[in-house]
Amino acid sequence: MSRISRRFAALREQNRTALIPYVTAGDPNPGITVGLMHAMVEAGADIIELGVPFSDPMADGPVIQRASERALAHNVSLRDVLSMVREFRAGDDDTPVILMGYLNPVEIMGYPAFAEAAADAGVDGLLTVDIPPEEAGELLAALRPKDIDPIFLLAPTSSPGRIQRICDAASGFVYYVSVKGITGSSSLDVEGVAAKLAEVRRATGLPIGVGFGIKDPDSARAVARIADAVIVGSALVNRIERLADEPEAIAPALAGQLAAMRLAMDQG
């Protein structure tokens, strides 16, 4: 059983919903990331989603675009991100880490080489925004023997047929994008999400994470009632941006945000 599956199984026993924070690796500088990951775990993060910076983040809003630009100003590469995960693993062997990003940096490394290096560093899952299952055959074949879970997105526009196909290709969990839009969107229609999640649950027994549009304890609590994982990104990255000039304040600030969300989710 993968680290991700073990973590969801443990949470289910405690009747808790997973809290998954996203930060871009190397934002605002590469030195901060590993410490920030540990601080987020301490504040209640169950799984870490670590963004791999990319020059052309088509599915991201301005907040995460700028995070990528800040990291790329330090030339943070996929190999650098893997080193950060390896360093994190030295102090935390339990918390699953998922890399989130775009296909091209993985493609240029080569799928088998990436899978080998990622597994070796202690990566548990890969979410590449721009690869639907139709194109993912070779990538899946490389990830599977290394026990790296392929995380796929489901969207409000996904038809029943696509939902089934995506769930069949995924492992670990599936990621439901709560809005038609890019990361950092403002509106979240919890009832609409709930209806779609019911449809997804008919297609799979995998846990379902919900992301895009969750920004505070209230929206985290609302989504925690219907999902197995709450994914929060832009709200955290936005705070990093505002503190970019005083990086030592970032970990405490994000820990505070996550602790408040964790509390709201656990109180239900």
Binding site: S55, D56, S77, V106, T157, I182
Partner: protein
Amino acid sequence: MPTNDQIRFSEMPDAHGHFGPYGGMFVAETLMEPLDELRQAYEKYLGDEVFLTELDADLAHYVGRPSPVYHAERLSREIGGAQIYLKREDLNHTGAHKVNNTIGQALLAKRMGKTRIIAETGAGQHGVATATVAARLGLECVVYMGSVDMARQEANVYRMRLLGARVVGVTSGSKTLKDALNEAMRDWVTNIDDTFYIIGTVAGPHPYPAMVRDFQAVIGREARQQMQHQAGGLPDALVACVGGGSNAIGLFYPFLDDREVAIYGVEAAGSGLETGSHAAPLCAGRPGVLHGNRTYLMEDENGQIIETHSVSAGLDYPGVGPEHAWLKDVGRARYVAVTDDEALAAFHTLTRTEGIIPALESSHALAYAFKLAPTMAREQSILVNLSGRGDKDMHTVAAIEGIEI
């Protein structure tokens, strides 16, 4: 991989939009169903007599097709060697080949009940062509354009605004065409219900590379007949500039199964391929995934897309249509590159010898034709796609020569 002579090029791409290992659909999940709806609409209407009749009528009476093929005799004498013919896409309404595609996609948008049109643009030609058809059909139109490109193509920005389009400057990344494309994709994914995204080149996710090609293939279909009529046979060589590659594939496609016709795509070598400051992914890049398809890209060793340079904004793009990537690999077309300086020299040569001012994009094709012609016999012929006219480039050319206008 099958060899060149086993492939039936007219049957590409496959059902999933693949040209060999290239093309495909590399997009976020939210776009997969809308792309499938688009594919179905496109397949339906490309076989629909009423739609095609309307499209042909618009191409004839609004665009001014067929565009002439012109035998540039004085130019041919000056250059020496093969006879140079020009396919005059510069004479189209709006001044370039771009409108062939925007007319087709806008008619498709109407059929699909979409009320809002978005587009990306580099030099502004595709933006103008999109704003033009949106004005004519009464559709809301938003054009994304890199802020760097807006500064160097001011006249086209004004033109789009006159036509009623909202031009949105894009300040992320390198602030050029690729970033405009990213921003248009973000708009599309957010406004998917009422919005039709008119991509201007043969890149992007399936069905765009095939659909844009099919709308642009009118260039090659006409040229094939015109050359037989005017020159007594098919040309010995085709030459077209390649940024994303829509004018080139439009010319090439109807000739792909004519193996005796040599095909040359000309990329922008900018300051020179050896300087790294260029926009020539086929000549000096490598395969990767960007903007919904797998193709040759300008990228660094970590897979980050790198900034490109060309004097011509319309060629200043780090990717290229996947069909070109495939034609390169199987050897059916040859891809070469010419520098800014060579293109500028060709710009002046055509202007002075024939009284035709070409776009800087098309000047790249001319520059290569000028190298090719002297290696061929006088009885042979080269057909160059003169994809656009140079009016939009007056400021750029004047500035390079130190003249203020």
